[in-house]
């Protein structure tokens, strides 16, 4: 178990290697390599092998260099308590160490789990089709834009997104749009919600897609989603809505407000914050069945007439359709989708709704407490919030955030005098400390 001179994960004894070489008819392994000397490499990466114990200690020491602070961070990426059973079941080797289900006859279990994940998203979104995952919310949004490009014929190439949008999400969207010659353009916000009047003015024949979020990146619940959906429909633009499964469990069903596509981040279930690792939702209406990016699991029958699951409609995908595929995505986030499904099953609809209600209630309560402090006003927007809200501070926000970090609390500085604070079940028991620290540094 110490450092190794060969890979510890190959079983070959010297005798076996010899026997195999002589069966092949060569003298040594080198004879099997057909690499011209001109491009050969001497093998010196300068990486020393360590034992698994050493590596565990090394990484543990490295990670301990992250400060021990309480995070009130969100802005589209959330952690909730992940029940232990999720880890134990998802970590089963059959799930973790399997490949994509190209041989469905021996992959029924994982296929069924993904089918169930899809079904949960169908319920949450109200849309009839959900794929079995994208990388994250940002890339799912990008895929929605390329879908819009394929399915909408308009006179222009505008993708309208809210003014309040994570910078990183917009940056990803722009990379997806670049290849399709789409242009990303912001529409203004009015007190934390989409400015529907401005959006109505802008919406027109050249708009391919309108994107809105509920809740917004500032945690505000959008109050006029159906209006936005109507504007998009009138412009024959795709209406894409961003959300997450916890919010979706109580907020308006996307289908009911005219959403054509739902994207978003489902990693709020099943994953810790994990430095931004995610799980992209992609759900859509029936008309886009053959334009969906990514993998779809369908129910079918086997030769015995029994229900069986399989990856289906693969002719949309890159390994068959190549440059005419609906996306280049291959490996997605299947195992994370499994985790989200187990987490959702563990909560059940009651637990999901309770969690969402707490996300609304805790945010309101914390905003009230911060609002009571002199030098701070919260929430900045007169809206209902999920998990998070903006705070206006008299002093420079960045300095306040820095001071709070020194006190052991992380919040976002989102503008010169704006902070943003996110409260979930994971930090709700630390709000006293946060409020006290706020009072201290403000």
């Amino acid at each position: 178990m110490s450092g190794t001179s060969g890979t510890p994960y190959a079983p070959h004894t010297d005798a076996e290697t010899s026997a195999m070489l002589s069966a092949i008819g060569v003298d040594d392994e080198e004879a099997l390599f057909d690499i011209p000397n001109a491009v050969a490499f001497d093998g010196d990466f300068g990486i020393e092998s360590r034992s698994e114990r050493e590596i565990r200690a090394e990484c543990s020491q490295i990670f301990a260099r992250n400060d021990d602070i309480v995070e009130f961070l969100g802005r589209g990426h959330y952690g909730h308590y992940v029940p232990s059973v999720v880890d134990h079941l998802a970590d089963r080797a059959e799930f973790l160490t399997s490949y994509t289900q190209y041989q469905p006859e021996i992959s029924q279990g994982f296929l069924q789990a993904l089918f169930e994940y899809q079904s949960m998203l169908v319920e949450l979104t109200g849309l009839p089709i959900a794929n079995c995952s994208m990388y994250d919310a940002a890339t799912a949004l990008g895929e929605a834009a390329t879908l819009a490009d394929r399915v909408r014929s308009t006179s222009g190439d505008a993708v309208l997104v809210p003014e309040h949008l994570r910078e990183g999400k917009r940056a990803v969207l722009e990379n997806y749009c670049a290849g399709a010659d789409l242009t990303v353009e912001s529409y203004p916000m009015a007190d934390g919600n989409a400015d529907v009047d401005a959006l109505a003015d802008r919406a027109g024949d050249d708009v391919v897609m309108v994107y809105a979020e509920n809740p917004t990146v500032r945690g505000c619940i959008e109050e006029r989603l159906a209006t936005i959906g109507g504007l998009a429909a009138d412009a024959d633009a795709l209406f894409t809505l961003g959300s997450d499964p916890v919010s979706l469990s109580v907020l308006q069903e996307p289908a009911s407000v005219g959403a054509d596509v739902v994207v978003g981040e489902a990693g709020a279930l099943g994953l810790p914050t994990a430095y931004g690792m995610g799980l992209g939702i992609f759900a859509c209406s029936d008309e886009f069945l053959r334009q969906v990016p990514g993998r779809l699991v369908g129910a079918g029958e086997d030769a015995a007439g029994d229900r069986a699951f399989t990856l289906t409609l693969q002719t949309r995908e890159q390994h068959i359709r190549k440059e005419r595929a609906t996306s280049n995505i291959c490996t997605n986030q299947a195992w994370v989708a499994l985790r989200a499904a187990i987490h959702a099953a563990t909560l059940g609809p009651d637990g999901l709704v309770d969690l969402a209600n707490d996300c609304v209630g805790e945010a309101a309560a914390l905003a009230d407490r911060i609002d009571d402090l002199s030098g701070a006003a919260a929430p900045v927007h007169d809206r209902h919030h999920v998990r998070e809200f903006a705070v206006r501070v008299d002093q420079p926000a960045a300095a306040i955030a820095g001071d709070l970090e020194t006190e052991g609390f992380a919040v976002h500085a989102i503008d010169e005098h704006l902070l943003q604070v996110c409260v979930t079940d994971l930090n709700a028991d630390r709000t006293d400390g946060l409020v006290a620290a706020f009072e201290e540094v403000i």
């Binding site: 008819g25 050969a40 698994e52 799930f95 430095y275």
Partner: protein, 462 residues
């Protein structure tokens, strides 16, 4: 063997408005989902897992998919709660994660012979997209308007789809008679419009592109860039580096080369390495040592393409990548390649099917000849192994693309060979009726696609 759907065990409807603190017009009316107890959940997923083949079940020689054993200890490293921080933390408060990112960038740079690395792409295909977007940014920055990406016919489908996603036209390059790039055809295909040639090496039938230096010259002389698809890097470890062969940009498949678990379809990670000239276009942020040498800091490359993932990619997978590389070190990595190539050659020797192209490295494309490769594969399921990739690449008729990887021993390879030979020699009837020792018998793909039922809601009322 059959496990009911969760929805067949329970469906519970909750009146959302009853408990919601929100005004009714902002909420949905109700939510209907299964509410199984924890013991039921444990049984459900335990049973589903047992109906799922995995690398821990047995041989999994899917060519070009590289199913290696995933060392268990890498899981323990990755679940460290100290590593699972929010991505919006300040750099000051995230020094540990930044340090590991930096170290991994350095490792990958060494292994690929690349000057700069981004860890952001969340999968191999995302890495391709990143690499091609970087190439595009490079050309645009230098005022070059190039519209084409050249790709060998035998390449992975993602190459074609990626080029299209990035807005390029695809020029498909037919294989030479020897299964490699036809240099003359390449010269004809490459020109002023060529943004890049995408190549994997060894290629998808395991052959090393011996003319790689000449190929690089041809592409570079035309002003194009050479892209390395990292799918087959496992065969080269310690013996060749893409950077040394003239590649300008590459992605790493951490699952295929560094044994991170595939998870039934992800999460993966597709870091991208580039030569110096392209570093300024990489996604933001990358990580570097801070000036005073007192820590690490994220930074935005000067002419970055922006972002390809909302945050910093599939972090937990990257941790496992680091742990695997650290475990193997120079000698282990080189040995992994040696044993992968040894195993492929030994297995090919043992099977009765022809292997038209060689000398191959870590994988080979056998041909099922006048048998249907997919049927042979289904029959192999009955002999307790996972079959190879079938009917691809198309340059080999009825191809069975086989990659045992380094983790199989001689007896395991002998078992695999026996499964190959028994299935290959079986009657047409037996092949057509296969599999019949599996949880499900042959699944009718055509009807599943004709009448897609993609959710339990779609099954209701049937």
């Amino acid at each position: 063997v059959h496990e009911p759907l969760l929805s067949e065990k329970d469906e519970t409807t909750v009146d959302v408005r009853e408990s919601s603190p929100l005004p009714d017009e902002l909420t949905r009316e109700e939510l209907t989902l299964p509410a199984p107890s924890e013991p039921e959940i444990a049984r459900h997923y335990t049973r589903l897992s047992q109906m799922t083949w995995a690398i821990d079940s047995g041989p999994y020689p899917l060519g070009s998919c590289t199913m290696k054993y995933n060392p268990k200890f890498t899981e323990d490293v990755a679940v460290d709660p100290n590593a699972a921080i929010h991505p919006d933390r300040s750099a000051r408060a995230a020094q540990g994660n930044l340090e590991l990112q930096y170290r991994l960038q350095e490792y990958l740079g060494e292994i690929g012979g690349m000057d700069a690395v981004t860890l952001q792409p969340p999968a191999g295909a995302a890495g391709e997209f990143t690499g091609i977007a970087v190439a595009k940014a490079y050309h645009e920055h230098h005022g070059n308007d190039r519209s084409e990406v050249v790709i060998p016919a035998s390449a992975h489908g993602t190459n074609f789809a990626t080029a299209a996603l990035a807005g390029y036209d695809v020029v498909e390059l037919p294989s030479g008679d020897d299964g490699r790039v036809d240099v003359e055809a390449l010269e004809a295909a490459v020109g002023d419009d060529t943004a890049a040639l995408m190549l994997t090496n060894p290629n998808t039938v395991g052959l090393f592109e011996r003319d790689i230096a000449e190929i690089a010259d041809i592409v570079h002389d035309a002003g194009g860039l050479l892209y390395y698809d990292g799918a087959n890097l496992n065969a080269l470890l310690g013996r060749g580096r893409p950077g040394d062969m003239g590649f300008d940009v590459m992605h790493y498949n951490v699952h295929k080369t560094f044994a991170t678990p595939h998870g039934g379809g992800g999460p993966g990670a597709g870091p991208v390495g580039v030569v110096d000239e392209l570093a300024e276009f990489l996604p933001s942020p990358r990580v570097r040592e801070a000036d005073e040498g007192s820590g690490y800091e994220p930074f935005e490359p000067d002419n970055t393409i922006g972002k390809v993932h909302g945050f910093t990619g599939n972090w937990l997978v990257l941790i496992k990548t680091y742990a695997y590389i650290a475990r193997l070190g120079d000698e282990g990595l080189a040995d992994a390649a040696a044993k992968a190539v040894l195993n492929a050659n030994y297995l090919a020797e043992r099977i009765d099917l022809d292997v038209p192209y060689g000398p191959f490295h870590h994988e080979f494309a056998a041909t099922a000849g006048d048998r249907d490769a997919a049927d042979v594969a289904k029959r192999m399921l009955d002999f307790g192994v996972h079959p190879p990739t079938t009917k691809w690449p198309e340059m080999v008729p009825e191809a069975m693309l086989t990659e045992p990887t380094e983790i199989e021993g001689q007896s395991s390879l002998d078992d695999l060979a026996e499964a190959f030979n028994l299935a290959y020699a079986d009657s047409d009837e037996a092949l057509g009726a296969a599999p019949n020792r599996t949880a499900a018998s042959r699944i009718d793909q055509v009807s599943a696609a004709r009448d897609p039922r993609l959710s339990w809601q779609a099954l209701d009322g049937e």
